[in-house]
Symmetry: D2
Subunit: 342 residues, 4 copies
């Protein structure tokens, strides 16, 4: 099979990571690459690590440029994907790496994004219950947010097994690439090196309703989420520390069994042996997820911690994984579960 792929938004971090993976994907042929303010520039300047593409020139993001490909990935600012997708045919697989089509609830969209809801597409987190079926043969896919990927995978087994109360408390640390290439003072190297800081505290981060959606679906009842993201002095990685009160009668063995069952057949999720905890370095550049869970008897809480690479499993790797499923390819084609460490 030769899958011809276009990437809209190839100059950013998500686009760059996607191209890194597509270059190693045996069934993919890279076609048009587009940018906005960077159109006309060589990729070698914008993404100097992608040596084989150094001489490619970014084109403008238009339907004409993106037409004629089997798959089009959209790595655009939120609110822009719907218009582009409409102009591409229904037979083209469109994979949106932005937020536009993740939420099912239009009111949530309105509250967190303040614009009209574009719709809901099949959700590209294959490890969630029932998710794979919706992705097989799909022509439209919404790639999850990086935080919701890490958090949903860490907590859904506790909810599907009915072990956790429906109030989750989550603190996550992200590498700076999660904030993209935006030129903002607080993202300067001088500011982030040697510093940890929170942002979007108090229920206002836009990934919150997506977590609520995923965990509520797993629990079969509304799950409240208290989510605090923090910026860590590293380029890549998310470490999500997630906890919820245990339902009465829950034992440590119940918790372990639920997680072992949930991930037994998952190619990318690695439930660590008891006593070993995740580290973001271990999944650097890979599509792997490391998870560990514990039951704190004193506090009566289930504590699940996951580590992902925000750009790989959290964005571009998750997108490729979903593409593989949609196209009927082996799910791990072109994806690695081996981190680049140390």
């Amino acid at each position: 099979m030769v899958v011809r792929v276009a990437v809209a938004g190839a100059s950013g971090y998500a686009g760059g990571e996607l191209l890194r993976l597509l270059l190693g994907h045996p069934e993919v042929e890279i076609g048009a690459l587009t940018g906005h303010s960077n159109a006309g520039q060589k990729l070698g300047v914008l993404q100097p690590h992608l040596l084989p593409l150094a001489d490619l020139v970014l084109e403008p993001t238009t339907a004409e440029v993106l037409a004629g490909h089997d798959v089009v990935f959209l790595a655009l600012p939120h609110g822009q994907s719907a218009a582009v997708a409409q102009q591409l045919g229904d037979d083209v697989l469109v994979i949106d790496m932005g937020a536009d089509f993740r939420l099912q609830n239009a009111a949530d969209w309105d509250r967190f994004y303040g614009s009209e809801h574009a719709g809901t597409w099949p959700y590209g987190l294959p490890e969630l219950p029932g998710a794979r079926a919706a992705l097989e043969g799909a022509k439209r896919i919404a790639v999850p947010g990086c935080y919701p990927t890490a958090v949903s995978l860490a907590l859904f087994p506790a909810y599907t097994a009915g072990l956790a109360e429906p109030e989750a408390v989550i603190t996550a640390a992200t590498g700076t690439s999660g904030a993209g290439k935006a030129l903002k003072p607080h993202l300067l190297g001088s500011e982030v090196m040697g510093s940890m800081s929170p942002y979007g505290v108090g229920g206002v981060h836009r990934h919150t309703p997506e977590m609520v959606q995923n965990l509520s679906a797993a629990a079969g009842e509304p799950v409240g989420v208290s989510f605090t993201p923090t910026l860590a002095p590293m380029s890549r990685g998310i470490l999500a520390t997630c906890s919820a009160k245990a339902r009465p009668g829950t034992t440590a063995a119940d918790v372990r069994a639920a997680y072992e069952k949930a991930f037994a057949d998952e190619p990318f999720v690695h439930l660590l042996p008891e006593g070993q905890w995740p580290a973001t370095a271990s999944v650097y550049g890979s599509n792997a997820v490391q998870i560990q869970v514990a039951y704190d008897e004193s506090a009566n809480r289930i504590i699940a911690i996951s580590a992902i690479d925000n750009l790989t499993k959290g964005t571009a790797g998750g997108a490729v994984q979903s593409m593989n499923i949609a196209l009927g390819l082996p799910e791990d084609t072109g994806l690695s579960m081996i981190g680049v460490a140390p």
Copy 2:
């Protein structure tokens, strides 16, 4: 006043930070410095940033060496302070930077440290209600742990004001100096740079009972603590993200008022203007504490976040602050509230 000071354990990070502060303390004269395996070595090799002390030679940690000083700081592995303190006279101010005398409950000590409880000394966190009175004129002081310092300051106002339910959920990120100079593989630069990882998950970290003790005292009832520490890729700093469910009827204004009242007269604690959040870089090398608090209405939780330098306010700076109080000196003598940033 000339205060003659000895430091037992001068080769480690806590000892080094203490000496850095004492060198800038106008009333202090530095006397004997001791080490264990490093006795006989020059400080210039062990602590190359302390230029004025470069030619001092570490002596062995014995009562003879430590005798004859007004103040003796102990930066020793836990379990060793009691024997040393006993040999020093009752008129010497002994300040223990280790864990031995922090806990009031012998059963807690036994459970978390597995040895005999040495006792309880006045607790060196002056900002806690009633703490200063116990420190004035004291001859024995237990310096708090770095995490309990960050966490107790972030949460006690919510408890003293009766706004929070007695179950706290805490995730904290620490710089690697919090783990000391121990030669362990996971503390190598190659391992920690670019990586976040948790440790001591599930209620087993030794600082947990100390947080329970402080928050329970503030609340006037037992407070449960779920504490997850994480190791961040930075040398210094603790960012503590602390939350608890709000008691019925609590408003955002109540929360703000409680925190403003708690810290109105504190020289080192800076409650940030609304909308601005702490960053560990802002308190780097200083005795300052940055705190911000929010009320998340959706999740009905109070979220308080603090940033400290684990070596300064979290260890050596807190020790000097308590020494100043004990000796009747102005509390901020020799201490800075200005961070070294960026």
Copy 3:
């Protein structure tokens, strides 16, 4: 003495570091602080580590605002200092932290900056031969560049002693704060963490003629400089690796003797014991300079390496040191020689 000080350009890294030092200077009273695009903003947002100044509001950079102070520091983009200085009286001490008045040779200025040469002021690197005399009582001072500070101190003793051939090869690594707060993609945390990269290679860096000027003065003949700066994944610090061929007959003992003599009475320059090498962490936040020198017999080269904090000794600390000399204060007033490490 009460010295009233104004700072033009208080929102950048150099201005922030200067304020950090001035806050600890016992003879200084901080007056007007000005900014350009940030005028009207509170310093607490722009420099959150300067807690005591959090509520100060930046004023626009005008002669009116800066008038009425004993000392005015200019931390402005190059080319702007002359106009401001002209409007301040001759009795005001004006200290320019930019490049405008460092070079003696107008042709050099034109070649590297492409504008008209503003003039030459007394050069604020007191450790250079004869420099202190020019600074005593001065009313205009040009603060050296950060790289020329590190490089000139590392190499001048070899030239004043006549031990080195007049061709120096220099590679220096700087922390990102040396590039200021400019919003450029290559300065984003995601780009700099985990990466080393050179820039300004091949004799084009603007600090090159300043090094040539200083080393030629020391040698008494023109010294050629090959200078390669590199950007390192750290916020602060310069490590300068400097070498030159040894003149015939030079011995290791000659080299050591020349350096010991040059720095014997310098309060801030610490020639390390033989075998110990500088580290930027050891001078973090301090005005200290660590230097070590070796003679490589195989290659017949003298290798001198210095470590400074680019913001302190390399900019703001050097400025305060020169101010102290100009005002007749003890040279180390308000300055520390103790690094904040680890």
Copy 4:
């Protein structure tokens, strides 16, 4: 083809990187993995990023364990490889990632290592003139040192083209993984983060004679090397800044032409477009080499700068590349030229 491979020294950084690459090599089957003090431990604990090998147990490093493989990689402390290699048959391809067989001159070995010289094997830097021929069909290969890889590739074209004087001055910055997993205080995260420091200054670093050997071979005359290595706050990467005086009559165009010719057909060496400079982040985790060269007319020096990943091209990737050549496989099998960035 199925190539059965054993790795002696699988618990260190070089061994781990080798396994990461071998897991992605389509012709390789991983056989015995051995360790020294770690024998008996699971790889999942020692190398948590190598998920597919998590349950493998390290065996002791003995000839019996290593026997029966087509290829044996040795990642052992220097001085230990000869004894192991002797016990393996002549038909086994033995690839030594240590220093033992790199040097041709026994006196150099004795001077820098102080033990008996084990011999000289074909040198695994295929890009050097004539190197590939010696590797084809070889049964013994010495993998170059990481620094000599970066430096030799950066400078040999200037010497083969006769453009440079035979005295090279080199400063290189390395990530901490270059120092291995040894538990030494100066390698602790607290020490290296935020710090640059030199080591092995003055011609004493053991990689110096290897650089001399390579550059002298390229020049056809003895080349002197002044080499200063520095430790940078990053896990991976080497940035080598190399320069030499230009021979009379050399022009910038000559230099550019020599480098374009030298690397025109090299799959892994990427001579950057003029004006763009290497960054170690761009080659992170890849076998690529980024090189740029300039002629500084003022200083009359050729300045060549290279960036590699010290663990990949600098060690394990170079080893796999040489294995591919020796076995007659396409040279880039299992190797990537795409960096993991940002």
